[in-house]
Symmetry: C2
Subunit: 234 residues, 2 copies
Amino acid sequence: MPAAKKGDPVNFPSYPHEVLAVVLSVRDGSLCVLLWKRAQSPHRGRWALPGGGVEPVQRLREAITGHLAAKVDVRDVAHLEQLATHSAIDRDPRARVLATGYLGLVPSDVRPTLPSDTQWHPIDDLPRTAFDHHYFIEAAVARLRAKLSYTNIGFALAPVEFTIAELRDLFGAALGYELGATNLTRVLTRRHVIDPTERRATPGQSGGRPATVYTFVARELTVTDPFAVLRPPR
Amino acid sequence: MPAAKKGDPVNFPSYPHEVLAVVLSVRDGSLCVLLWKRAQSPHRGRWALPGGGVEPVQRLREAITGHLAAKVDVRDVAHLEQLATHSAIDRDPRARVLATGYLGLVPSDVRPTLPSDTQWHPIDDLPRTAFDHHYFIEAAVARLRAKLSYTNIGFALAPVEFTIAELRDLFGAALGYELGATNLTRVLTRRHVIDPTERRATPGQSGGRPATVYTFVARELTVTDPFAVLRPPR
DNA sequence: GATGTTTTCGCCTGGTAGTCGATAACTAGA
DNA sequence: TCTAGTTATCGACTACCAGGCGAAAACATC
């Protein structure tokens, strides 16, 4: 029997496949998602996630990076990870399209120049979105909020250098509730997620003690806490 | 402008899409995965995950359920959840095929009758597997082990009724290390994951105090611990 | 200096994981 | 019935961590 080779038949049905990115960032104290306004039918006038098809030479991650480049400078996207693949039969009215979602994060201090059809929208004040894109947004926000607690994913939301007060506000906006600076500092330093530097921030108009400047230890995703329970014996 | 309708063009390239299931279960004290031996090229003679194509009327979950039915009684699969979608260009030598993985769990007390080409294989003694299936297996095992700590996913690995000793051995096999019965009981009961019943198990040959029979409170996935850190204020 | 503002540190509390030894509840056999 | 062996369960103890609060530090302005 000859070895299988390129061109031999595969009996699997084919479907158009698209990738969609939920790009999240904290803007002016609110967690926001990047959306663009559709000018074409279907769902003309509604707001949609960046994304599109997958070229034959591209992996999914390369495809979403390419589509993102049309909306933002992809070097500003500090973290990108896959979410779920959705397969509802008529999620697109034209044909059956499978869609794989991605979560992208942009630090709060970078201000990418956006095309005129593209804007940041606060998570808790979303407009009508196209297709089933709200499912992807919900999943992305849930994933981010969970990972803020047990990974160092904050590095992708924060500037390279920051004070604890800034980080407290950033985490507060991302999580949707306020938290104390004392405990935040202690948790993140004990887990070696952030480190203090020698530098101090210059106080604002009204004075006050100058804050220590912190940085994230690593700038790629690492899990910090092995879930705390049912640990292996010493 | 007319509204978009079925049959309108979508500019997304199409790809054959397959679904693959990593079915895990504890058999004779070892965490095992369900594999079948390929009789056809490519990868003839190697062991592969159950799976196959997606019919036009099926969602991904329905498709994997259908393919699983050829190997096990799907009613024995107590839990099924999506893993990642893989897109390496030549993960299949015949053509470009996208693949979405699923994690399935079978309780340790059910003994599905398997086709002659299908067997359980211990996780730490795997044969050569076909295609990129080992990536799916690794991801599935990691997902299971993580979720054992912060969800009630154990319900899908355990019998409906069980003793703490049985559960300790079950978790030990799934996690890959032994753990203490005292702490396991305390953690799972405080989180309302398991509940004691009035019934007692009958001691074995060698006697001993009869063990309390426990059950899982819920039989669908619930997250028990909101990750313990950076909680909202009271 | 005096006052106001902001950050940071130390102390306290409560809750949870993990371990170990004592006790309970059975079987089998003398 | 009593004793020894076996297994399960409970209580006590330790260690660690999250979370909160107030005091003190370190700046600003006046």
